[in-house]
């Protein structure tokens, strides 16, 4: 891990928090999938992937060192997530449409996905603004074990999504409104 050779600073810690922030909606989505038995639609899965694409930017900052390229990756992933979430919002925006899936605090999850992507972009802008001060900030000497825990936690989340998607959709296309795990129903 390249971070071992560089002193870690407050900005590294912010990136770890950013990665954990990306993990939260993915965990909540999993909770609703496993506990509430709400299977994700193809657009929902694409929004999860969009968040993961954004999260990779934070992960790369933690593992490969702070680079503007990685912040660009976060923004690209968030914009993509926002576009996909907007598409689903527009699909259910007409009066009388009850939306897809259940709501949390009055908003459906695709709307939360749009809100999350905007928050990530704003947070990235703030981190970029304070990154120039990074050199003058005292090193925090974050234990490398923390980097490893966050990285492996993110890996676990992606692996769990892979398994659940294979179970839900099999080797092909997912149903538009899935109600059963395709592989488990055979």
């Amino acid at each position: 891990m390249k971070t071992k050779t560089h002193p870690t600073t407050f900005v590294h810690l912010v990136n770890i928090v950013g990665l954990l922030g990306v993990c939260v909606p993915l965990v909540v989505a999993f909770y609703y999938q496993l506990v509430m038995d709400e299977l994700p639609c193809p657009l929902c899965l694409l929004q999860r992937i969009g968040l993961i694409i954004a999260g990779f930017g934070f992960l790369f900052n933690v593992y490969f060192g702070l680079r503007n390229l990685h912040y660009g990756m976060v923004i690209i992933g968030s914009v993509l997530t926002g576009i996909m979430a907007s598409r689903q919002v527009f699909l259910h925006i007409m009066p009388g449409d009850t939306g897809y899936g259940s709501a949390f605090l009055g908003l459906h999850f695709y709307t939360w996905s749009l809100v999350t992507s905007v928050v990530i972009i704003v947070a990235t802008a703030v981190v970029l603004a304070i990154s120039d001060m990074n050199a003058s900030i005292r090193p925090l000497n974050i234990p490398p074990a923390l980097f490893r825990i966050v990285g492996w936690g993110f890996l676990l989340l992606i692996a769990a999504n892979l398994v659940s998607t294979v179970l839900e959709c099999g080797g092909g296309q997912c149903a538009d409104n899935p109600i059963i795990y395709e592989l488990l129903s055979k």
Binding site: L43, F56, I76, G77, I83, F90, L155, A159, T165, C169
Partner: protein
């Protein structure tokens, strides 16, 4: 579109990142981005009856 493929590539990205292979991670990340965009275009089938 094979939806599991997206998570499979994502798993490859995180594995290569954790093992410190930065160039492979970047290439796989770019591949993931392209496949995701193509998959999104594939799934955008219903026309939106909206005007702005």
């Amino acid at each position: 579109m094979f939806m599991f493929l997206l998570f499979f590539i994502a798993l490859g990205v995180v594995l290569t990142a954790i093992t410190g292979k930065d160039k492979t991670s970047y290439i796989l990340w770019a591949a993931l981005l392209i496949v995701t965009v193509l998959s999104f275009i594939h799934h955008v089938t219903d026309p939106l009856n909206l005007s702005f």
